[in-house]
Amino acid sequence: MFQLIKSFSALKLSSNTIAKYCTYNLSYNPALLPVKKTHRKPRWVPVAKSKVFRIPKKPKLPEDEANEIRRLFNNYKNNVRSIRKYLYKKHCTIFEISSDPQEILKEFKEDLVKCHEINDKWNAEVKINREARLQKELDEELVLAEKKIEEQMLREEEMYAFTEELVRKQKEASISFITPENIDAIIDKALAEETDYNFAIYPNGEKIIGKKTRPTQETEKVVGAQ
């Protein structure tokens, strides 16, 4: 009893509750007993080193004793099985069900109606959920499509601006292009404005043009060209 009171106080119960429990009949009740544990060591623990090479002696029963033990055990199994079967038949609810086909059909129909009710209820619930889900999915898809259209338009605008810029630049550059119309004038200009590259250059970019950078005589010029 002291143990019991101690365990109750550990649960922080009020003194009234403890007093109430103390009036209970504490006769033998298997349900209140602690769970029985096996006394074996765990499966993964190996055989003790001192017992590895121990050879247990095989029990050798006399034949009559073995027969007697077998007979008693067979009787015990037989008796217990018979009692178990009797109690099962007596208390099992399966055997209480009527074997009248009309009654079975009636029960079946009642059960079917119940099942239908449950099924309809489920279907209604599922329908509401399904419609809400489909509406939500449609809205999401519409938003996504609008977003995609906007993105596409923005991309097209960017592309148009890029091409416009490219065309403008080309047009600007095309002013200095050589065309069949102005080719003669440009050749004349090039011939007139002869460029002389015979000069030295300082690291800082200063050009030093010599006094005589070109051959004076025409023949020498021809020979030098060959």
């Binding site: 004793e65 008693l72 009787n75 008796n79 099985r81 018979s82 079967k85």
Partner: protein, 199 residues
């Protein structure tokens, strides 16, 4: 150096199947081999070699890891010969086989008529005392009168087993044996000295 065995012993006596058949002409086809462990039965149990197929040595051959052999045999167990040949491989390593010499074959394989089980077992038995009292109370509360038949507990025999040899008493048939909740009829009386037996 002779082997020194360490560890638990087994009940085998004899040689493995390869040790016997490997040393015989034509791998012993047609010969009779018996297992020592099956000599516990009064009826003869033996195998007749029909066809032999050898298998390689195991990697680490030892007394614990013997060579196997694949043998097609005509098997006779407790005097009954199997109508179809049996392929033996998994048990061929067991050192429990012995060769029956040719002149002893006829004697060894002689049929012995097994004793027929003539027992007729009872269909019902009595209840254990406390359960009997409870049953009586139950019937008295419901019907108001208890008959002798109410105290008969039906015995749960294994009716589906193929090895059933006994017979269960039918209607009006007198059983040769009786079962009760007590110690029953002892086979060996020397354990019951000074004990009062009801049956």
């Amino acid at each position: 150096m002779p082997y020194k065995y360490i560890g638990r012993t087994h009940d085998f006596r004899g040689k493995s199947l390869w040790e016997i058949l490997g040393n015989l002409k034509n791998f012993g086809v047609g010969r009779i081999v018996a297992r020592n462990i099956l000599e516990r039965y009064p009826e003869p149990s033996y195998i007749k070699i029909l066809k032999v197929e050898t298998l390689p040595h195991p990697e680490n051959e030892s007394p614990d890891n013997q060579r196997k052999i694949r043998v097609l045999v005509e098997q006779t167990f407790r005097g009954k010969t199997s109508p179809v040949p049996v392929l033996m491989e998994r048990i061929s390593y067991k050192p429990d086989f012995k060769l029956i010499p040719k002149d002893e074959e006829a004697n060894y394989c002689k049929k012995i008529e097994s004793v027929k089980d003539t027992r007729i077992l009872p269909r019902t038995m009595e209840f254990p005392p406390l359960l009997k009292y409870l049953v009586a109370q139950d019937i008295l509360n419901n019907k108001g009168k208890v008959t002798n038949e109410d105290f008969q507990l039906e015995i749960a025999y294994n009716k589906r087993s193929r090895n059933v040899k006994y017979k269960i008493a039918g209607e009006g048939e007198k059983p040769t044996e009786t079962f009760s909740m007590g110690l029953g009829k002892p086979v060996t009386l020397r354990f019951y000295k000074g004990i009062k037996l009801n049956n």
